[in-house]
Symmetry: C2
Subunit: 412 residues, 2 copies
């Protein structure tokens, strides 16, 4: 008998009909003799609707009140699912974050978990009750309702699995696992059966939308095995486990495309110690996440500095950088949001020399110019012109042998 | 500087635009130097929509889960109003029932308040924060969310006013107070400026929809002055206070019409001790509220017994009564939902003999046959045929001098 934490995302509980199907899925697990703890997101676009109401009131709503507002979405869904399970003859109880209580700090809209006592849940489980937990939310020390930010329901599920020492944590979503590339871009992308936390982290950080970085980090920290699967289609699933458990290692596990990237260049800045800090510190203060940074070789004591940032921060960043540019006497600031970042990810990179070279060669063969490069133990990223993005993904995917084998031609 | 608890009903907070107007009303009170504590219902028909979802799942939902579901309606509204007040420059915080905490017993869907500590609210008030409380809800000892049943937000407001020793409790609704009769039935009905708790209790119990019996009882018990007024139209208001405070006493304060009434008669039952109990006990067990009971004079040791019940319980009651009728050998059971109850209410009844006679005479003058009569210190009720209901209200209203004086004819 296994103890399984199951998390159902918004698309899995988008309607009462979806909720009924989720309850039937839970039923199957119970019939196998497993204990289950359920975590749910808000139904469909409920969260967006609540946010829209708040923004109709003001462009900068009280974050405490926004949390109190949004938390109702998951509470509604948890109550409806518990109700559905009860109507099928199970014992079930819904719990809000405050009821567990899932204790957080008081940073509204992106609170972090500080404590998660399990007494209430263990009591429920011992009475044969299926606990249905409203994900994404907690309570601060003063009793205020908090929310955990993006991917919050996944975080709730993983934290519960860790504290309950569950056998594994199932993440039900609208895709049936992780693929070697976005199948919409790369039709021959392969389904991945097993991958390491580290690989998933790199993929998540690079725009693969299956799971949020934070919950994968938490799973890694507490060694909670994750299973990503679809609620409604097929039986495929992707296990995300520790590196040792990933047997069938290919060098590259996947290829991603990040579109929300912009590039800022400062031309002809004085090449003196501390200059990069002077330029980048205001961005850090404004909580703008600077990613790749390149400074070219200095000529006549002048250099150029280029870095990438999320496109959503481009306006603010340009403003800050132009101010510094005037202070330090740079020749010019150039901003460009016409770029994308293509990355190859895999734990094989660190042990296989020449992986980067193969990637560059594949891009070159398609006449794609590489504007910036960065590498790490697990990843190689290239910034290229936006219009080549999808072609680049397919080329890199192919060069590392990730394409699904073509069906043999019919023999007749 | 007064401390005022203000309760805003569902129609007062039906949209974001309504909520903005409520916030402006709060603003006026703050500018007068008053401290305010706000209690809100769910927006418009939100509660009905949530109930509809639950009934789509099952006809008998888990009551614990139904409470968890419904409580979100008030939570959403409280967060949105607090947000609106903050956007106007006030300090405001929303609180759910669990956050206060408003402690109740564990009778889901109709819980009763057992404790209501005010520490959180007093702290907020001392910091200049406007507390916005989600009405209708509380928490049981085990932490489960409970709801207080019909009129629950009024109950929350009155309980808070009592515990905070507020100067008074304002009930904002879609009518501008209490009238001597329903103006839709009786166009010349007069607005009532002041009335006693007891009069309001009788009127509420007889179908006047302005306030629920329970919250008026609570206000009477703790001597909380109530003010009923409209959020959006005019400046009229009705004060509901203790009997001594009601100066301008007329004999009759109002006339009501109850339509949701049915009559059940058992014909020719043996006239022996305990027979009424034998007939009515099964109804009490089924929680059917039997109102007027009449047994006619016995002839040859046989009598007829007639009583009234809410029409919604007629099916169940008929079933139970027919069973008893067979057991005791009654001749026949007759059920009739073609009746209404007209009542005159006023604290003057007990001290003015002949009031009942005046009412009967007024009905008789309109050729309306009285089928059943009951009286109490504060009220006289007559059951009559349904089709005469509205005519009867106007006749009784007129006979007690409650009609609004006609405008004098223009002199030209």
């Amino acid at each position: 008998m296994a103890l399984i934490v199951q998390k159902y995302g918004g698309t899995s509980v988008a309607s009462l009909d979806h909720i009924r199907k989720v309850a039937m899925n839970v039923n199957i697990n119970r019939e196998k003799g497993n204990q289950v703890v359920l975590v749910v997101s808000a139904m469909g676009d409920q969260t967006d609707q609540l946010i829209a109401m708040a923004s109709e009131i003001t462009s900068s709503p009280s974050l405490r009140e926004q949390d109190a507002l949004l938390a109702t979405g998951e509470q509604v869904c948890a109550a409806l699912l518990a109700m559905t399970l009860e109507s099928m003859g199970h014992k079930a109880k819904s719990y809000t974050g405050s009821q567990l209580p899932l204790m957080t700090d008081n940073v509204h809209t992106k609170a972090r978990i500080v404590d998660l006592p399990t007494g209430t849940l263990l009591q429920a489980l011992s009475e044969g009750v299926i606990p249905v937990i409203a994900g994404f939310q907690g309570a601060a020390e003063d009793g205020s309702i908090t929310t955990l930010g993006r991917g919050g329901s996944d975080t709730t599920a993983v934290a519960l699995a860790a504290k309950l020492e569950a056998d594994y944590c199932e993440i039900y979503t609208d895709v049936d696992g992780v693929y070697t590339a976005d199948p919409n871009i790369c039709p021959r992308a392969l389904h991945i059966k097993k991958m390491s936390y580290q690989e998933m982290l790199e993929l998540a950080g690079l725009g693969a939308k299956v799971m949020h970085v934070r919950s994968v980090e938490l799973a890694q920290k507490y060694q909670v095995p994750l299973v990503v699967k679809s609620t409604f289609k097929g039986n495929k699933q992707t296990w995300i486990i520790n590196e040792e458990g990933v047997m069938e290692n290919s060098i590259i596990k996947g290829v991603t495309l990040e579109k929300d990237v912009s590039k800022v260049s400062l031309i002809r800045i004085p090449d003196r110690p501390g200059i990069a800090h002077q330029i980048l510190a205001p961005l850090a203060e404004a909580a703008i996440n600077v990613d790749m940074i390149i400074q070219n070789v200095s000529i006549d004591n002048y250099a150029d500095l280029t870095f990438t940032i999320p496109t959503t921060d481009l306006g603010k960043a340009s403003e800050l950088v132009n101010q510094v540019a005037r202070e330090i006497g740079a020749l010019e600031v150039r901003a460009n949001n016409n770029i994308v970042k293509v990355s190859a990810v895999g734990i094989g990179i660190k042990t296989n020399p020449g992986v980067a070279a193969r990637m560059f060669k594949a891009l070159s063969a398609e006449n794609i110019n590489i504007q910036m490069i960065s590498t790490s133990e697990y990843r190689i990223s290239c910034v290229i012109e936006e219009k080549y993005g999808e072609l680049a993904v397919r080329a890199v995917h192919h060069t590392f042998g990730l394409d699904e084998p073509k069906e043999p031609a019919p023999s007749e």
